[in-house]
């Protein structure tokens, strides 16, 4: 007695959020049934395993048929095949484009190419995310990347409009696109402690302050590429470490301001020159694509690690960087205030975010 065919079609398409999640997570039908049984679904409406299996199969089929539409979400709203109320459409899209932080952490900054796609099974094995789900997430990244690549206007807004995503998710995608485009190195051992959300925050800072779009919002790729002119101007900051007088002056200003306000004052005073050299060197090297990629690893090596070994607290970091930035304004011979602010504004917030106590 084999069930040859079994379908259930509602005029309003019935979609169970729980099953949708299992489908997105790449469970097979049988595994999904097991999960649902374990989740106590058998107690509902006198269901049995066959009922669950039949329901799960139906839903999986529906999702598979919907998947094509989900890949261009704008179509979902004006297609005729499935009658789905708008708020359900929003849910479907949002969940389809949601991703696992552990997974995205692995591919962040990597080229979204076939090569990377081949490694997905390794990443899946490492992160515990099913290969199916890895592929979906990877393809989503790639799809979003391809679409926004050729669009003018603000990155986040473009993603939001084309993929009908929530603001939060659109920002995350913007970060992923930004990282993939600039190929930032995020996989080194020293960076492992950083979460995707740390990077996403930094990406947001970079997009808002360092890209072409930060000054001119009409050019293509404005939010994806860093502002070349700005990077060039950053070279001027070198004077802060090359001019010995300026360096000493800067140090004394900062130390005066910090004295008595923190337990780590001694370490701050001792390390000032080292740290300052580190930050300014990062700035001056950003014209090299290679050094842009190493931006985060440089931040960690040149600033965060020394501070951490001296046991600075987050408050210490904040205090130090605030005074470090502000004191430069008082230096008479330092003429690059605007560039300095644009640079340090981002550096400050990135370091706050990246510095975990």
């Amino acid at each position: 007695m084999a069930v040859e065919l079994d379908v259930f079609v509602g005029n309003t398409t019935i979609m169970d959020e729980e099953v949708y999640q299992l489908w997105l997570d790449g469970y097979t039908v049988n595994d999904a049934v097991k999960v649902r049984m374990a989740g106590g679904m058998l107690d509902e409406c006198e269901a049995n395993q066959d009922v669950l299996l039949s329901d799960t199969m139906d839903q999986y089929r529906t999702f598979q048929m919907c998947e094509r539409l989900l890949q261009s979400p704008a179509k979902l709203a004006n297609q005729l095949l499935f009658q789905i109320p708008p708020h359900r459409q929003t849910m479907l899209i949002e969940r389809y484009y949601a991703f696992d932080d552990v997974f995205v952490r692995e591919v962040l900054g990597k080229k979204l190419s076939k090569g990377t796609k081949k490694d997905l099974d390794d990443i899946g094995a490492k992160t515990g995310v099913t290969l199916k789900s890895c592929r979906r997430q990877f393809d989503n990244f790639k799809r979003v990347f391809k679409v926004v690549e050729e669009l003018k206007g603000p990155l986040v807004e473009n993603i939001r409009q084309h993929f009908l995503l929530s603001d939060k998710l659109a920002r995350d995608y913007a970060a992923i696109v930004f990282f993939a485009n600039n190929r930032f190195e995020t996989g080194k051992k020293k960076l492992q402690y950083l979460t995707f959300q740390d990077f996403a925050f930094c990406a947001g800072q970079l997009i808002n302050n360092w890209t072409v779009g930060a000054v001119d919002n009409t050019v293509e790729d404005m939010d994806v590429d860093l502002d070349k002119e700005f990077l060039q101007e950053l070279k001027e900051l070198k004077i802060l470490i090359t001019d010995k007088d300026l360096l000493d002056q800067h140090k004394s200003l900062v130390c005066t301001a910090l004295r008595g306000k923190t337990k780590a004052f001694a370490e701050m005073e001792a390390n000032f020159k080292n740290l300052s050299r580190g930050l300014v060197n990062i700035a001056t090297k950003l014209t090299n694509t290679k050094d842009v990629r190493d931006f985060f690893i440089d931040l960690v090596e040149k600033f965060i690690e020394p501070c951490r070994s001296d046991r600075w607290t987050s408050a210490d970091i904040k205090l130090y960087l605030t005074h470090y930035t502000n004191s430069a304004h008082i230096l008479d011979s330092f003429k690059h205030q605007a560039v300095w602010d644009r640079y340090m504004g981002v550096i400050k917030s990135c370091i706050y975010k990246m510095y975990h106590d």
């Binding site: 065919l5 409406c45 095949l81 009658q83």
Partner: protein
């Protein structure tokens, strides 16, 4: 030149990529009507072309306008090779021909291809300009409105009901033409779709002409079916009820709304004043009573009325009866005479309606049905013997592909139905329907309906306006129970039945059980809630050819009917109910088996006596084990009955003789099964299956059949908490529907792996299949709780040997559990008014005569218990009789081609009912609207919480889908799943283009699936129909045209 059709092609979107090189498409459109074709320009390199064409004008006869669909073909232009078709849209322009329906068709239509499914959408505008045609002899019937709804459509009132209209047209099936061997599957499918579209257009036009002849202006309860007879052709047939409808002005609608009528509401509450009012009536009835009716005379009467060459079974409603109340006599006769004349002018006094304006239905007799087994003739194979089968079938001088043959077949069946109705003392048949089941060259034609007596007022010219003067002819019975009163003469009953005085009005007789094919009348008094009751049956038969096969089938039919009936009766009693509504018995034929499925909604009619229990009896007493076994089963049954009483809230009032003072007859129920088979009316054999004077409905446990029956009785699980089920329009006892509805279609096919199955194991498999489907529905729709699955329509088929297919379409309607009683009452009054669209004076009338039983008898001492009643069926003796009967059948086998069964159930009992169906008007949450209009679909004739303000025309669509890449499309389930979704989408698109936002009375008439997994192929045909409407929320006066409004409704729809 009476019409001008204009079409404009605006744009396309989401087109498929037709040119792999550019990933784009160079699309253009051909617009064809009749033999005229126009083309748009090619819109190069786009998947979202903007043609914005001129208006293409077709000048055509209105006859063609009715027959032909507008055919739109989207193609991809190719410079070097032939243009590739992307897909087609067929637009039925019939709705534009009626002034009251839609005026323009405008919207996005899915572009459909029979091989690839939906491939993008196209935006089209269509208009029609009709010129007045004064030609009396015209062939068109423009302007006649068609409704699938089997009641008087909301917003209309029936000035006159003219009666039955039928028509059929026959053609060769393109799939079986020689050319099919050389053309592509796509061309073949399209030829078929187009032909069927043409045929249904023609059919509708012809029916329209008949309606005009009769003086009507509309067809209500229009039911169109296809018979795919394979090589012998394609039959499209339709039946309906011709009416003269008058639109109710919106003013009167508002009036009815605001009129403070609390009549029905008063039924719901226990007003003590009713006691006094009603008891004198009860007293009046008391004196007359009680001579049992002789079965002999009834059988004689029956045989006189039957001149059919078939085994005929008559199921009676069980029991002995008494004589009638005298006062009703003369009036009844008068009424009957009057109605008779009105109806006798008609060849077939049949009505496809299932619910009626109050006062229309006077009495209901019982279910009448007839079946006939026919051999289809082979057009291409005359050598194989047309003549032989003709001789056999006694149809000389007709060729197979002429409609006359099929007409004659149906004519014969209808005659039989008519005579069955007559035997029940009824002059009309309501809730009438016809269907067929075809397997190879064998075809079972079935017809069934409910014998009834109707009020003649609706049959005469200008009747409604003088309704008040006619009132004296009306049966004086209160509407809450009047229809249950027996229509036949108590002294000359057509069958032995146990009659009691109506438990509601106590003036007239009622039978103890009532079976009907109609919906529960809105004004009927019901105790508790109802539920879906199904009888399922499988019977193996030997594979055979031709007449041998036909004989085998017709021999099996009566047994199947009998067993289905017994199952229904047992299950009804198990649920402590006494009436079935919406009874639909389907018998489907396959190569090696017959499937029978009877579905109905069981209720406890307050007017009828309480059903007796079921008693198990063992034949061989003395065996201790056996005794224990029987006791255990008995206990289970008793427990189930008790549980069901609680579940369905069946707490009928306890009646007492002393208190009321009326001699209610000692309830003694017998079950009688009695059959006649004869060619001339003189040969009657009767089976008295009653076991003497037993009080309970007895099941003999020694009988294997009985064991099986008991098993199947107890296997039916009741729906889980929060769910109710019925196959009628609504569920008694539930009033506060929310606006959330979820219509669905589900199909399941089972492959029987084991070739050597017994009847018993087959039954079990079939029953499990149906039960599991229901279980799946409960689970899937659990988020709609509390809800009722309404209009559960099961269809069974045997598509191939060893395959059983069950298709279900139904709607889950959520209701509000916590609504206050107070609100329910007020709503009840208003709702009833609005819903029935019926003059107020009648309502008031009904209210005065109504009384709730619980209130009526509340003050009465409860010493006399309504003792457990029972009817008994003696299986042992049945088996014996059957075998003799079978022999008789065998002797006559060559002449017998038809099994016909008449199911009559008697009933009686009245009490007022809470008839209103208040629906809640909770304001729906609002969500953002989308660019696609949400279209609700429901198999019911209404949408809860909304008011239909306009009927836009009938939707009648036929689609074929085929695939040669079955695996790639997700197997046969994936294939059918997307096809059903596509069909829904196309229906919604057509409705939206007509300006509508809902489909009511939706049904899927056919779902024929053929598969060949080895060849990776499958084909499916689906036929759907319904009425496109515009509805507004009950509180709004204006149609919801704005997007936000539509968004709201649908959001609520899906939110639950």
């Amino acid at each position: 030149m009476p019409g001008k059709l204009k079409a404009k092609i605006v744009a396309g979107r989401h087109l498929p990529v037709m040119d792999r090189a550019s990933d784009l498409t160079d699309a253009f459109v051909e617009v064809k009507f009749g033999n005229t074709t126009f083309k748009t320009d090619v819109f190069p390199k786009s998947l979202n072309p903007q043609w914005n064409s001129e208006w293409f004008k077709f000048e055509v006869d209105d006859e063609d306008l009715q027959d032909e669909p507008l055919q739109i073909t989207v193609l991809d232009h190719d410079t070097y090779s032939a243009n590739d078709a992307i897909g087609k849209v067929y637009i039925d322009i019939d709705p534009l021909l009626c002034t009251e329906a839609a005026s323009i068709i405008s919207g996005w239509f899915p572009i459909y291809d029979t091989i690839h499914g939906i491939r993008g959408e196209i935006n089209v505008l269509v208009k029609v300009e009709l010129f007045n045609d004064l030609n009396r002899f015209r062939q068109s019937s423009c302007g006649v409105k068609f409704f699938c709804t089997t009641s008087i459509p909301r917003g209309y009132r029936a000035a006159m009901v003219h009666g039955f209209v039928e028509e059929l047209v026959v053609n060769e099936d393109p799939e079986y033409q020689w050319i099919d061997r050389i053309r592509t599957p796509r061309a073949s499918n399209e030829a078929r779709q187009r032909l069927i579209s043409l045929m249904s257009g023609e059919l509708q036009r012809k029916i329209g002409l008949k309606v005009l002849e009769m003086g009507g202006n509309a067809v209500v309860g229009y039911l169109q079916c296809f018979d795919l007879e394979g090589e012998s052709g394609l039959v499209v047939r339709a039946i309906g009820t011709a009416c003269t409808l008058e639109k109710q002005s919106s003013g009167s609608l508002v009036n009815t709304h605001t009129h403070p009528n609390t009549a029905p509401a008063s039924n719901a509450c226990n007003s003590p004043s009713k006691d006094g009012k009603e008891s004198p009536l009860a007293h009046g009835c008391r004196s007359t009573h009680n001579s049992p009716v002789h079965s002999a005379c009834s059988s004689q009467r029956l045989s006189q009325n039957f001149s059919v060459s078939v085994p005929t079974l008559i199921f009676t409603g069980m029991g002995s009866g008494g004589s009638a109340g005298k006062e009703a006599g003369p009036l009844k006769t008068l009424l009957r005479q009057q109605t008779q004349t009105a109806l006798e002018q008609r060849e077939f006094p049949f009505f496809t309606l299932t619910s009626f304006p109050p006062g229309f239905l006077v009495h209901v007799g019982g279910v009448v049905s007839a079946r006939s087994v026919k051999l289809l003739d082979r057009i291409h194979n005359p050598a194989l013997g047309n003549t032989r089968s003709y001789k056999l079938l006694d149809w000389n001088s007709v060729t197979a592909d002429e409609p006359e043959t099929r007409d004659a077949w149906w004519e014969e069946i209808r005659q039989e139905i008519k005579s069955h109705a007559k035997a029940l003392g009824c002059h009309a048949v309501v809730g009438y329907s016809e269907n067929t089941s075809i397997c190879e060259e064998v075809c079972i034609l079935s017809a069934s309906g409910t014998a009834a007596i109707l009020n003649p007022r609706y049959m005469r010219e200008g009747c409604l306006d003088i309704g008040s003067t006619d009132q004296r002819f009306d049966d004086p019975s209160p509407p809450s129970c009047g229809f249950c009163h027996i229509p036949y003469d108590e002294l000359n009953m057509p069958f032995p039945a146990q009659l009691t005085y109506c438990y509601n009005c106590r003036r007239q007789k009622v039978p103890d059980v009532l079976f009907t094919t109609i919906d529960l009348p809105a004004e009927a008094a019901v105790t508790g809630k109802g539920c879906l009751i199904q009888a399922r049956l499988c019977r193996l038969k030997k594979k055979a050819q031709g007449e041998v096969n036909a004989t085998a089938i017709s021999n099996l039919l009566p047994f199947m009917e009998y067993e289905l009936h017994t199952q229904l009766m047992n299950k009804l009693k198990l649920r402590s109910m006494n009436a079935l509504f919406g009874l639909h018995i389907q018998i489907s034929v396959g190569e090696n088996m017959l499937l029978g499925l009877a579905s109905a909604t069981g209720v406890y009619l307050t007017a009828l006596p309480a059903p007796g229990g079921i008693q198990i009896a063992g034949k061989t007493s003395g065996d201790l084990n056996n005794e224990q076994h029987i006791q255990a089963i008995q206990k289970r049954i008793n427990d189930t009955i008790a549980k069901n009483k609680e579940l369905y809230q069946i707490n009928p009032p306890e009646l007492t003789e002393e208190g009321v003072g009326s001699p209610i007859p000692e309830p003694r129920h017998r079950s009688r099964l009695f059959r006649s088979h004869s060619e001339s009316s003189d040969e009657v054999s009767e089976l008295d299956l009653s076991h003497g004077k037993k009080d309970a409905f007895v099941l003999e446990i020694d009988d294997t059949d009985a064991v099986e029956d008991i098993h199947s009785l107890l296997i039916d699980a009741s729906p889980p908490t929060g769910f109710y089920t019925c196959n009628t329009e609504t569920m008694p006892g539930i009033y506060n529907w929310t606006t959330a509805v979820q219509m669905f279609t589900s199909v399941r096919v089972l492959r029987l792996s084991n070739a050597n199955l017994s009847n018993q194991s087959l039954n079990k498999i079939f029953t499990d299949l149906c039960e599991n489907l229901l279980k799946s529905f409960y689970f899937k729709l659990r988020s709609n709780i509390p809800c009722c699955l309404c209009h559960l329509n099961f269809t069974v088929a045997v598509p191939e040997e060893e395959l059983i297919q069950v298709s279900v379409t139904a709607v889950a309607m959520t209701f509000d559990k916590d609504q206050t009683q107070e609100r329910f009452i007020t709503k009840g009054g208003i709702e009833t008014e609005e819903q029935l669209q019926f003059p107020l004076e009648l309502c008031a009338d009904s209210s005065s005569t109504n009384a709730q039983p619980s209130s009526k008898f509340s003050g009465v001492p409860e010493n006399t218990i309504v003792s457990p009643r029972a009817a008994s069926v003696d299986y042992g003796s049945f088996a014996d009789r059957c075998s003799t009967w079978l022999e008789l059948l065998r002797l006559k086998a060559h002449t017998i081609r038809r099994g016909s069964v008449k199911t009559i159930s008697s009933l009686e009992h009245c009490s007022p009912l809470t008839e209103g169906r208040p629906r809640s008007l909770r304001s729906s949450r609002s969500f953002g609207g989308s660019s696609v209009t949400m279209v609700k679909m429901t198999p019911l004739s209404f949408l809860p919480g909304t008011r239909i303000i306009k009927y836009l025309g009938i939707i009648n669509m036929f689609f074929i889908r085929e695939t040669t890449s079955l695996r790639e499309e997700g197997g046969v389930s994936g294939f059918l799943h997307s096809f059903i979704a596509e069909v829904f989408a196309m229906v919604r698109a057509h409705v939206a283009a007509l300006g509508g936002n809902a489909v009511v009375s939706y049904s899927m008439k056919d779902c024929v699936l053929m598969e060949n997994p080895n060849k990776n192929q499958a084909q499916c045909l689906i036929n759907v129909s319904g009425d496109a409407v515009i509805c507004v929320r009950e509180t709004d006066q204006e149609p919801m045209t704005s997007m936000t409004n539509i968004g709201q409704t649908c959001a609520a729809d899906g939110a639950t």
